[in-house]
Amino acid sequence: MKKMKYIRMDTVFFCMGWVVLLPSVLIGFWFAASGYQQIGDLFACRFMEICKFPCPGCGGTRAVYYLFSGDFRKSFLYHPCVIIGLLEYLCFMITYVFRNYLSKKTLVKEVRISYYMYIFIGVILLQWILKLIYYFN
């Protein structure tokens, strides 16, 4: 059987990062330019309507809106995952470029995606718990 080439996980995610960069930036600025009221209502949370308390994703759309409007403080307060996700993305891309193109080491260590995912999920759960505590008090 022909031996297949080993595919590095971080390389795939690095390529995916480049692919999603331009569309997400364009959609983000278009969203910020067209105003929250026009599009924001489409993403209204059905979970909140039914259960009467916020879900782990509540505030995400407003956070994206304020991020692209340039109000980072409000964005972080509405949903910290948006800014943390963006920082993780930048961190991953820079680490990958550094390890593969700038570092002098011959043996390139793979960038661990799972650590980024653990941080991301941890932040989602933490901010949800804080939101629930604040909501029920």
Partner: protein
Amino acid sequence: MDKRTTDIVAYLTWIGFLIAILSGDKEASKFHLNQALVIMLFGLLSIIPCVGYVWGIVVLVFWVMGLISAINGEEKEVPVIGKIKLIK
């Protein structure tokens, strides 16, 4: 189908999973069949508005991780949901 093909096909949507489980090497690629099933079941949660969109991104990343490990012929668990065993 040999083990590696079954592993890869199992990740390609529900249709691929059915093909893999019906005509693939079920015993040898039990790990990836189980992982693909778990990822796709958790992926169903992403139809819920608002929270589902965030979860959808997370599941998409898990799916890519699972698929790449299947292509490489490894048995790497995906984070968080990789420990769940549905196919024994």
